[in-house]
């Protein structure tokens, strides 16, 4: 079982690592002090379980959970000092939650529960986060990371280098997947590789060859696939 530990406190990570070290089946493949770094490392390590602290700078544990692509989703265990509301919320939904200081016995139960879960089962946190709408998007440009309001962007697209967001003048990168953006933001899919924010659409134009394009406010042209055109057309009541 490959796990990530995400906690902004070094001692808390150390403590959990010590506890996990007693279980042979567990291998800690990454530890991070914030959500941005975790998101960045996820595609590479593809861990089975995330131990997430809830109170963290910039992106809270709950937010981080909602930013993770459900398709590659690892199981999530929240680790918190005290958060009765959150506990109430994911009492039925989360795979598990642990209270700090974590007891070894309790951790063992948690790991047992994790290994009993069949791989096909949809991640349980799905229901927890499904209503959560992202308004701040973790972005990075070079080494610096920041949170940017979703409505600062016009569209998102993916290529081999990853997912990019266009803010009208330039582009930034994000570790969120298009799927997450599609599910958790008002962005609409217009192409397999493109999402567009409805209010950024200036024009939807049908070309002579039957293909359509979306023209954004800043004058960018986005391709529209046939299979998404109908949905777009219906949304804007174009006949």
């Amino acid at each position: 079982m490959r796990v990530f530990i995400v906690d902004d406190e070094m001692l808390a990570r150390e403590e959990l690592k010590d506890l996990l070290a007693e279980f042979d089946q567990v291998e800690v493949v990454g530890e991070f002090s914030n959500g941005v770094e975790c998101l960045k490392a996820l595609p590479k390590h593809r861990p089975d379980v995330l131990f997430l602290d809830i109170e963290m700078p910039m992106i809270s544990g709950l937010e981080l959970a909602s930013m993770i692509d459900p398709e590659s989703a690892p199981d999530i265990v929240f680790v918190t000092a005290y958060d009765q509301f959150a506990i109430q919320a994911f009492e039925q939904n989360a795979v598990d939650y642990l209270l700090k200081p974590v007891q070894s016995v309790r951790l063992q139960q948690c790991l047992e529960r994790l290994s009993q879960r069949s791989q096909q089962q949809a991640p349980a946190f799905e229901r927890l986060v499904q209503d959560r709408c992202l308004t701040l998007i973790p972005c990075h440009q070079g080494a610096s990371a920041r949170l940017v309001r979703l409505d600062a962007f016009e569209y998102a697209y993916s290529d081999v280098a990853g997912v990019h967001l266009w803010d009208g003048q330039g582009q930034v990168h994000t570790h969120l997947t298009l799927k997450v953006l599609e599910d958790r933001t008002p962005m609409l899919r217009c192409h397999r590789q493109y999402l567009v924010l409805p209010q950024a659409i200036r024009e939807i134009r049908q070309e002579d060859d039957g293909n359509a394009v979306v023209l954004t406010m800043s004058g960018q042209e986005l391709p529209v696939s046939r299979r998404y055109f109908k949905a777009l057309r219906d949304l804007f009541s174009i006949n």
Binding site: L11, P57, A81, K100, P101
Partner: protein, 564 residues
């Protein structure tokens, strides 16, 4: 001496005699009804008898002039009307007139008619004054009596000329008697009225020896009041009011039922009964004083038609929100008059009770508030902090038992201060000790992500400020400030001087302060600190915040009155 002068002197003598008699009468209770305007029959009868007697005596003692009588009858008729109203006036005039008629002479008809009309005139003026909505004291104006009598006598002269025959004789008579009668009667009426007015004043002043009484009443009531009256305290209040005002009965109700009733009629005004009295219901409904004076509006007991009570004053009692929570009722019997002094006393009592209730409610709320504030401030030990601290200690034990030990002692110190501090004021040194215990733990927890700097002038350490001021600010600086930074958090606590006044500043380098209204997470702690600072230093010395996004947030406590 001319005949006119002789007549004048003679009439002045007559008038003097009457005024002396009136003065002596004014010392007797017989006079009392004259100084109170009341439509009640006994009152009217007394006025009728007194002034009819005056008219008759005036005719009898009149100065016979040329087969006619120069007299002061007009005074009786006019005053009878002025004080008793049109019916009494007419009756007095008629009685005086008929009596005069029986005395004969060539002016007998003219005099009878004019006297009747004089009485009626006085009564009509009475009616007019009341219709104008003037205070009833206006009826006792000597000036008005003078003017009315003057016109009444002019009327009489005119009637003599019109009715009495032969005209030559009548003309000669009027020439002789007009001046003395106009003069003496007008002045006499005015003096008579003055006497009544004096008597009335005396009576009222006597009553308002009541101011003394009012003070004593207040003092006694204040001792009893405090909370919403229940049956026991209502009974005590009612007893005091009855004792001090000497009214016939006193009742106290809440919004729905009678809480206490003492005095006349307590056989059928039962405690615990639902309110049925029309006046009380009106007072509660309309939130105002209702007065059934027993004259124009009688008090009708809703329980028994044989109830001896005839007038009532119902004063609403209000709580701090100005909603009616009950009434105080003062009653007088059917046979006695509701003294105006008791009316104002009664209204005053209502106000006293209302005010007392407001004060005690206010006091109670204030006390609750400050207790609650301290409690909340104490209870602000953030569970997050506590469990994170325990988790940190847990992690540190293996690696550095020494650090763990010092963490445990910091945590104990922090908790001890939180649990124990009951005084609302502490020195800055105590406040910093509290904040430092907290900071040491956070320092270990956040390790390299948090640095702390503290430079507070030693001179300020003995200054007082509200307990639980500094630690909540430091906690906020970390929780909403540096802990949101990925790295390089810094908290500085320092003193500075701003316009000659010392300030304590808690600064973080996150610059994330956003005064979102209703944001509870930041709000409660900061609000309490702010409120308590204002209580302590004055309303202009609340928390100040300076913020430059992503650079710093400074929360500033001004140590007012402390020279830097």
């Amino acid at each position: 001496m001319s005949p006119v002068m002789i007549l004048l002197v003679s009439m002045a003598q007559q008038m003097s005699m009457f005024l002396v008699i009136a003065y002596l009468l004014s010392k007797t209770p017989l006079f009392l009804p004259l100084s109170n305007i009341s439509a009640r029959l006994p009152n009217g009868l007394i006025i009728y008898f007194i002034f009819s007697a005056f008219c008759i005596l005036a005719s009898l003692f009149g100065h016979t002039v040329n087969d006619a009588i120069a007299n002061t009858r007009a005074v009786g008729a006019v005053l009878g009307g002025l004080l008793g109203g049109p019916f009494v006036g007419l009756a007095v005039g008629l009685t005086g007139g008929i009596h005069r008629f029986t005395l004969g002479g060539f002016t007998d008809v003219a005099c009878a008619v004019s006297t009747t009309l004089e009485g009626l005139l006085g009564g009509l003026v009475h009616l007019w004054v009341r219709k104008q909505g003037h205070y009833e004291s206006q009826l006792f104006s000597p000036k008005r009596a003078l003017v009315v009598t003057f016109f009444a006598e002019m009327l009489q002269m005119a009637l003599i000329l019109l009715i009495a025959r032969p005209f030559d004789q009548a003309w000669a008579l009027v020439q002789q008697i007009a001046l003395p009668m106009l003069l003496i009667n007008s002045i006499g009426a005015a003096m008579f009225m003055m006497m009544i007015q004096d008597r009335r004043k005396l009576y009222n002043e006597f009553s308002s020896a009541g101011s003394d009484q009012a003070l004593r009443l207040t003092e006694r009531l204040v001792g009893v009041l405090g909370d919403r009256p229940d049956q026991a305290s209502a009974r005590r209040i009612a007893d005091i009011i009855k004792e001090e005002t000497q009214v016939a009965a006193v009742g106290i109700t809440n919004e729905t039922e009678v809480l206490a009733f003492v005095g006349l009629g307590d056989d059928h005004h039962k405690i615990g009964e639902t309110i049925t009295s029309e006046q009380t219901l009106q007072a509660i409904r309309e939130n105002r004083v209702v007065f059934a004076d027993g004259i124009t509006t009688p008090y009708k007991c809703s329980h028994s038609h044989r109830c001896p009570l005839g007038s009532a004053l119902v004063v609403p009692i209000r709580d701090a929100d100005n909603t009616v929570i009950g009434t105080v009722k003062l009653y007088e019997g059917k046979r006695s008059l509701f003294q105006s002094i008791n009316r104002s006393l009664g209204e005053g009592i209502g106000r006293i009770i209302t005010e007392q209730l407001t004060i005690s409610q206010h006091h109670e709320q204030k006390q609750l508030l400050s207790q609650a504030e301290l409690k909340v401030a104490r209870a602000q030990v953030n569970p997050h902090f506590l469990f994170n601290a325990l988790n940190t200690i847990n992690a540190v034990i293996k690696r550095s038992p020494e650090t763990a030990r010092s963490l445990v002692s910091d945590l104990s110190l922090f908790l001890r201060i939180n649990l124990k501090r009951n005084q609302s004021v502490s020195t800055l040194a105590q406040e910093l000790e509290h904040a430092n215990a907290y900071l040491h733990i956070e320092q270990v927890r956040f390790a390299d992500r948090l640095s702390i700097e503290q430079t507070v002038s030693d001179a300020l350490l003995t200054q007082n400020l509200p307990t639980f001021t500094v630690q909540p600010l430091v906690e906020n600086a970390i929780k909403h400030g540096t802990s949101q930074l990925l790295e390089g958090g810094q908290v500085r606590i320092y003193s500075r001087t701003e316009q000659g006044v010392a300030q304590l500043v808690v600064e973080d380098n996150a610059g994330r302060y956003s005064p979102t209204p209703g944001a509870e997470s930041e709000g409660l702690g900061m609000n309490i600190v702010d409120t308590r600072l204002k209580h302590h230093f004055g309303s202009e010395f609340g928390l100040q915040v300076e913020c430059e996004p992503e650079r710093y947030t400074r929360v500033i406590v001004t140590l007012a009155g402390v020279p830097a």
